[in-house]
Amino acid sequence: MSGWTVIIVLIANLVAGSLFWRFAPKQDRTVWRSTVSLMLAMMYLMWAFTYLCQLHPLIEPRRSDLRPEFAEKI
């Protein structure tokens, strides 16, 4: 997994969004389109930022309460 995942998911999202845009329900179409597109966009952004920030972290988790016999299981 690398930074490309972000691009791939973006493309998948765009495809899903445009498909929905095309086949949105006739009733309340504007509401459906706007809500679903915005929802996809915001959820994607949130995920992407979370993913990106862990791509090359500058610090690593550190703990001192670990017991050696459990270390392998974590």
Binding site: M1, S2, G3, T5, K26, D28, R29, T30, V31, S34, T35, L38, M39, M42, M43, L45, M46, W47, F49, T50, Y51, L52, C53, Q54, L55, H56, P57, L58, I59, E60, P61, R62, R63, S64, D65, L66, R67, P68, A71, E72, I74
Partner: protein, 908 residues
């Protein structure tokens, strides 16, 4: 299919309706069922008492008053209105407005004769009920009087008996017979005349309330005792007994002391239960008083004083036999009164039950008819041609239906002059009308609480459907808390029809109920963000294997660091949860996330302003406001956001380079342009110089372009000799009124052609108020300049402060996360100990601590924190996002609709 009217408000047209006066009522009725016209008041100058249909309105007002009276009596008598299907105070009479022609044709208006029948029936019932109720009240009053009298008789008798038997209380008939205890025994046996029932009512005298107030030495022998007199110490004393309000007893006492010069003896006994005063409806406490004095004049005077203070004087016969007769008489009268009272109450209840069944229907009929006449009072009435002219705002799509429905009314009534509905051109600003449904209504309410969008402006309520709950969820992110919220909202949504039928909901509950779909989305998005934060009731979500591996082979207590084995696919790696430096990482992540989401939110809102300017064809606003604003914002904060993402993408440790601080970079961009401490990317210095230069150029651009362009346009038109014509919908003058008035620039279509040719009523537009042009605003360069200076300063400062304001997303989400983990550590976690340590008690402690933890979670973390996060999200929308594009200078569309009439504020 009608237009949706949610992205922009519905396209409204001003329609003029001409109708013959004989069918006007039916026409208005149909429009009321349709619920899509807002009538303008064409008689603004006319006093409300001089309008055409005052008589009818007054008649209906009277009926309404009678209905209210009947309702009041019903409440007094405890007769309930049947409410099988709750539809407010009007029963099920409220029907959804319909824009379907077929359905409209079936909803026939109630005829005037039906209405007359209702009015007559109500009046008859009211009269009958009023008579009966008055009789009832009279009887009740009488009953109370008798009861009072009886308690006086009893109270005084007891008093005499206990206090004065020694001193010489004597039966008048027995004369000088020995006054021993046998006398008292007879009296106490006579007490049985006072029925037991009375004591049950709590009407008997209060034994503890006996007071000796004054004991005036009675000296001189008074003249002959009248009937109510007692012999004290061998002296005949006059007695005045009765009841008086407890508060007034002291006054009575003082006045009597003064007027009788101290020649009296007073006593009082409290009556246990408070008495309801029938005239004022208030409860008051009364007490029995007895005044002993001598001399007919003094007795008469005390009696007058007592009566003037609202006291009630009761004759208490001095003789024992007379006393017994009096008590007997009173009891007999009381029994009669009570019998009649019961009969009257029964008849009244029967009558009221009859009324109760029909009350809702009557109320609806009267309210509708009254609304029809109120609407017709706003019309222009032409008595000569016997026609009414109405004007009102209507969504363009509904005009055809309205026209057809009204023609249908004329056909049915056999009137050959069909009503004419014509669309007229006007310079008035139409009302803002968004067609909402039960899902979008709550989101629209959030925006409307801030301001009503200008006519045809982009509705910020539409994107708010997602952004509002999502911004909330960023602050509230926790799967468990989100789940609780979702479940609660889902209950409200699933039971919505049952809740809607409930007659009286609490205010807080009603708020949650009306916002149930908002809460549902808030909960769902919180589950999503909670999953990304890897928080479930502050515990990690270990769905995927952690991408951090701790090394093997270390001693216990030694600090170990993990090494990365990959990128956690969705959300934060849960290995951070138990790490010591978790805050260091989470802070950096959440802070950057807030800036990015905030900037994207604001940028999105700014693009809406471009869409607005384009829709209103305001070129000067695009060039003078949007473009410089866009450049300024994106050159500084857009650049910051790009560098944040770029910094994430570079493997600084792998490249063995120093990761630059972005905050310092941004500060240095202004303080030391061109110099870079730690390079982020090659060519960074010059790029930042260019960006800074662009941003700086944007300030004077934003400041000067629009005012100067407007002035040039104005001067140009003046030079061409158009200064007089500028009042029309020309671009320059409307724009001149300020940046915010672009809404008046809508394309003016001339649609004043009459669309229904088969008529003999020729519309004459002269009397219509809506054709008067608004006075042209004079071009004032100074005003425009000042406005623009304010706008520029605001925009530039807001770019900084609003971006910083989005950091609240970080702060609140951090606080929420920390609070929930503290709660976990303080309560539930302490209960998990080995069985050997606490034994069976440990199990019970788990249960108890779980209860504590759960209650605190719901109360503090979900309710309190949720409210706070919601308010912050609200602010982010109202201030940070909406300031980028929202004008909010419209006014709300309030159509004439029976449905609205019968469903809103009916419980007041």
């Amino acid at each position: 299919m009608t237009e949706e009217a949610i992205f922009r408000s519905a396209n409204m047209v001003l329609v003029q309706v001409y109708m013959a006066s004989e069918i006007a009522r039916d026409c208005v009725w149909v429009l009321g069922e349709m619920g899509s016209i807002e009538f303008l008041d064409l008689n603004e100058g006319v006093n409300s008492f001089q309008r055409a249909f005052v008589e009818e309105t007054r008649r209906l007002d009277n009926t309404e008053r009678q209905l209210r009276y009947l309702e009041g009596v019903m409440r007094e008598q405890g007769v309930e209105e049947p409410r099988e299907a709750y539809g407010g105070a009007y029963g099920g009479a409220a029907r959804q407005p319909s824009r379907d022609l077929e359905e409209l044709m079936q909803r026939t208006p109630q005829t005037t004769s039906e209405m007359d029948a209702v009015v007559k029936a109500v009046a008859e019932y009211e009269q009958g009920v009023r008579e009966m109720a008055e009789t009832y009240r009279g009887l009740e009053k009488r009953q109370q009087g008798l009861q009072e009298e009886r308690s006086v008789l009893e109270g005084t008798r007891k008093y005499f008996e206990t206090r004065m038997s020694y001193d010489g209380y004597r039966d008048g008939d027995d004369g000088s017979s020995d006054r021993n205890s046998s006398d008292r025994f007879t009296i106490s046996s006579n007490d049985s005349l006072l029925t037991q029932e009375e004591r049950a009512e709590g009407f008997g005298p209060d034994d503890v309330g006996l007071h000796d107030l004054e004991a005036a030495p009675s000296t001189g022998a008074g003249p002959m005792p009248r009937e109510s007199s007692v012999n004290i110490l061998g002296t005949a004393m006059g007695v005045v007994c009765g009841t008086i309000e407890t508060d007034k007893f002291a006054i009575l006492e003082r006045i009597l002391w003064r007027t009788l010069r101290g020649n009296l003896y007073m006593a009082r006994v409290e009556i246990g239960a408070p008495v309801v005063d029938f005239d004022t409806g208030e409860e008051q406490r009364r007490c029995i008083f007895a005044v002993f004095t001598h001399g007919g004049g003094l007795v008469a005077r005390s009696r007058a004083v007592a009566e003037s203070l609202g006291g009630r004087v009761v004759e208490v016969p001095g003789s024992h036999r007379a006393y017994a007769v009096a008590v007997h008489g009173v009891n007999g009268k009381l029994a009669d009164v009570q019998r009649v009272l019961a009969g009257t109450a029964e008849r009244l209840a029967v009558e009221l039950k009859e009324v109760a069944g029909q009350l809702a229907g009557w109320r609806a009929a009267v309210a509708r008819d009254k609304a029809v006449y109120a609407a017709m009072n706003r019309f222009d009435y032409d008595p000569a041609r016997r026609c009414l002219v109405a004007e009102g705002w209507m969504p363009r799509g509904d005009v055809g239906t309205a026209r057809a429905a009204m023609v249908d009314v004329a056909d049915r009534r056999g009137v050959d002059i069909a009503p004419v509905v014509s669309v007229v051109d006007s310079h008035l600003t139409p009302p803002t009308f968004f067609r909402t449904n039960k899902f979008t209504a709550a989101f629209q309410a959030i925006v409307d609480a801030y301001g009503i969008a200008s006519y045809r402006e982009i509705n910020p309520g539409l994107p708010a459907i997602v952004t509002f709950p999502f911004m909330f969820a960023i602050m509230f992110g926790d799967m468990g808390h989100g789940l609780i919220l979702t479940l609660a909202a889902a209950c409200l949504c699933l039971a919505e029809s049952a809740i809607a039928r409930q007659p009286h909901r609490g205010e807080i509950f009603d708020m949650a109920y009306s916002g149930r779909y908002v809460l549902l989305l808030m909960g769902l998005f919180s589950i999503f963000t909670g999953f990304l934060y890897s928080d479930l009731f502050s515990r990690p979500v270990t769905l995927f294997a952690s991408r951090w591996a701790y090394p093997a082979g270390f001693k216990e207590g030694q600090t170990v660091s993990a090494t990365q084995t990959g990128v956690y696919p969705i959300g934060l790696d849960w290995a951070w949860h138990s790490a010591e430096n978790t805050l260091l990482f989470a802070n950096s992540y959440k802070m950057k996330l807030s800036i990015l989401m905030g900037f994207i939110h604001m940028s999105y809102s700014l693009q809406l302003s471009l869409a607005n300017f384009r829709f209103f064809k305001s070129r000067v606003d695009i060039i003078g406001n949007y473009i410089p604003g866009f450049l300024f914002m994106h050159c500084i904060f857009g650049y910051l956001c790009l560098t944040i993402v770029y910094k994430w993408c570079v493997d600084w440790i792998g490249l063995k380079r120093v990761a630059p601080s972005l905050l310092n970079m941004l500060i240095n961009m202004f303080l030391a342009p061109g110099t870079v401490d730690h390079q982020l990317y090659p060519g960074q210095g010059p790029v930042q110089l260019v960006l800074l230069a662009v941003a700086l150029v944007c300030v004077p651009w934003l400041l000067l372009y629009k005012p100067l362009a407007l002035r040039r346009a104005h001067n140009h038109s003046v030079a061409l000799g158009y200064s007089e014509v500028l009042s029309g919908p020309s671009e320059a003058s409307s724009l001149a009124s300020s940046h915010s008035h672009y809404s008046s620039l809508r394309p003016s279509e001339s649609e004043s052609h009459v669309l229904s040719p088969s008529n003999s009523l020729s519309p004459s537009n002269s009397h219509s108020s809506s054709f008067s042009h608004p006075p042209p605003l004079p071009f004032n360069f100074a005003d425009i300049m000042v406005n623009q200076v304010i706008y520029t300063i605001e925009f530039c400062l807001n770019c900084v402060s609003h971006t910083a304001s989005y950091l609240r997303l970080w702060a609140l989400s951090l606080a929420h996360n920390q609070l929930s983990s503290v709660l976990w550590n303080m309560t539930l976690r302490n209960s998990f100990v080995a069985y050997s340590e606490r034994g069976f008690w440990g199990c019970i402690i788990v249960v108890l601590l779980f209860a504590l933890w759960f209650v605190l979670t719901v109360a503090v973390l979900v309710c309190m924190e949720g409210t706070s996060a919601m308010l912050h999200s609200l602010r982010l929308h109202w201030v940070e996002a909406m300031s980028k594009h929202f004008q909010g200078e419209g006014y709300k569309y309030t159509p004439f609709s029976f449905y609205r009439l019968l469903t809103s504020d009916d419980d007041s």
